[in-house]
């Protein structure tokens, strides 16, 4: 740690210029009227995330949780070297399908975000967006030691170390990298957690929204997105 500049990551003083496209601008309408455009306000929904209540009936909630557990749709989003370990899951050898696991290409339809390896700050931004665009209940699984403590990149200038500071992680699968078998085992664990009703990452994210945002903004210095990406 001694070689690290303590202010490097948590520097909040330096003002980074906002991206041109997101700056407020003046636009002439076809009628010649000049109007103000506030891109972040006009083009993005500014609502904060809500905490969603569980179903009123426990039995229903349990049934739902069982279904959620048995129908894990993973967002096809690879961050680090772990992405390569996820592919074999679909092969006849591992055949993740039989556990109700599928890959979905769009965050809207996926409910499991696998952070498959080290997460650079740049990718973190995308990961946050993607996570926020998924519909709850949604789960985050960190893959490999890099997501746990930075792993071999612990003193990198550009990767984050603890994923749970930025996203509500439900489960870490250790290893560098974890093998597909480990992944499968991890999924089973996740299922259990879901079925038990403990995988409430989305609600946690909503509850501790400010904390997460502060952490996120601390590392992402050119924060140029709405607080919550609907």
């Amino acid at each position: 740690m001694k070689h690290m500049d303590p202010n490097f990551r948590k520097d909040t003083k330096t003002e980074f210029p906002q991206r041109e496209e997101l700056k407020p601008r003046k636009v002439t309408t076809p009628d010649g009227q000049v109007i103000d455009i506030e891109p972040l306000q006009d083009y993005f929904c500014q609502e904060p995330p809500k905490v969603h209540q569980k179903s009123y009936f426990k039995i229903v909630e349990d049934f739902y949780n069982w279904c959620r557990a048995e129908s894990l749709w993973i967002l096809a989003f690879g961050t680090g070297c772990g992405a390569i370990e996820m592919r074999p899951l679909m092969t006849p050898r591992f055949d993740a399908y039989r556990y109700g696991i599928q890959w979905r290409a769009t965050p809207r339809q996926a409910n499991l975000l696998m952070i498959s390896g080290y997460l650079s700050v740049k990718t973190l931004k995308r990961a946050i967006r993607t996570y926020e665009q998924m519909q709850g209940p949604k789960y985050v699984v960190g893959l490999g030691s890099c997501t746990i403590n930075g792993g071999m990149y612990w003193d990198s200038y550009n990767t984050i170390k603890k994923l749970e500071e930025y996203l509500p992680v439900d489960l870490y699968i250790a290893g560098c990298m974890p093998r597909p078998e480990a992944l499968l085992a991890g999924f089973m664990e996740l299922k259990k957690k879901i079925k038990a009703g403990n995988a409430e990452g989305a609600n946690k994210y909503a509850e501790k929204f400010d904390w997460y945002k502060a952490n996120q903004k601390a590392v992402i210095k050119d924060w140029d997105m709405p607080d919550y990406n609907w």
């Binding site: 929904c45 048995e70 055949d95 399908y97 809207r108 519909q135 709850g136």
Partner: protein, 301 residues
């Protein structure tokens, strides 16, 4: 106009049967596919789980009115298509609402859901949706052509546009089926069938990685649930039309199940052995192969 309640009951029952049949059958088809490639495959009831899970999602978003209505259109299209076509031959009740219109209605109602879905997906403002839609629409225009020609051919052959009459004319033995009395038309129709089932090689519309599954890229939760329902319902409704027109129809639910499955498998079998076409390739394909067969069909009648 008096409402024929029993008919509505039968319609609901038909719907129920077909949806469940479709849920199971599509899962079965996937399972067969998995087994062919040496996997265990999904559970036979996986479709139900996915459906419930999607309904059970807690947070939902909407992009606007048309976005909201898109899946409604879609499912209405599927349900309507099913109910406008006589399902079981020989039964007045299982003919559902086919009194409202003939073959032409069925052919054109196919577009109802497509249109609504396209509109809904487009309102999400997602370029991938739009790209997917252009692909889908581009492809379907040409893919439907051989079917239109085949339908024209067989309606000329049977001198009627009434589906029930067409089925009636095919009764009395397997060789009375259009498949055998007019194999060219059937072949033409099968081109269209394969082309519109959204399976490989004609599934670039929903290319999962390039344009994350195309038109429905923004759909989730119950929207997706409705669409999933439609996804099991609609192909079967379409298959029913093919069955009625070319494969002698079905006189009972068992025959229905068998025939639909068999016909459905055609597209699956074609799909598993063919890589994906680009859109212009599929258009060219249908013009090069589907169209001549269709033309031959109407010339031979």
């Amino acid at each position: 106009m008096s409402i024929d309640w029993p008919r509505i009951g039968y319609a609901a029952l038909t719907l129920f049967i077909v949806i469940n049949y479709g849920m199971i059958m599509t899962a079965l088809v996937r399972k067969i596919g998995a087994r062919v490639s040496g996997r265990y495959g999904i559970r036979i009831y996986q479709n139900y789980i996915d459906l419930v899970k999607n309904i059970a999602l807690r947070s939902k978003i909407t992009h606007g009115v048309m976005y909201y209505l898109g899946p409604v259109f879609r499912l209405t299209g599927g349900v309507g298509l099913l109910l406008f076509v006589p399902t079981i031959y020989g039964s007045a009740m299982w003919s559902n609402f086919s009194f409202a219109g003939d073959l032409v209605l069925a052919l054109y109602f196919v577009f109802f859901g497509t249109l609504g879905m396209a509109l809904g997906a487009a309102e999400s403002g997602h370029p991938y949706s739009a790209i997917g839609i252009t692909r889908g629409l581009s492809q379907v225009t040409v893919a439907e052509l051989p079917l239109a020609l085949a339908v024209f051919a067989i309606s000329l052959q049977y001198q009627t546009l009434n589906i029930t009459d067409i089925v009636a004319a095919q009764q009395g033995g397997i060789f009375n089926w259009t498949l055998f009395t007019n194999p060219v038309a059937t072949l033409a129709a099968l081109f269209a069938f394969v082309g519109t089932m959204m399976r490989s090689p004609f599934d670039v519309v929903i290319a999962p990685q390039e344009i994350p599954i195309g038109p429905p890229t923004e759909y989730h939760s119950s929207y997706l649930a409705l669409m999933q329902t439609n996804r099991v319902l609609f192909p079967i409704a379409k298959t029913v039309i093919y069955m009625n027109l070319f494969f002698g129809g079905a006189t009972n639910w068992f025959e229905f199940a068998i025939k639909v499955f068999a016909i459905y498998m055609i597209s699956v079998l074609v799909g598993v052995v063919h890589p994906r076409f680009r859109v212009e390739q599929s258009i060219t394909f249908f013009l090069k192969w589907g169209l001549p067969v269709g033309v031959l069909a109407i010339l031979l009648v």
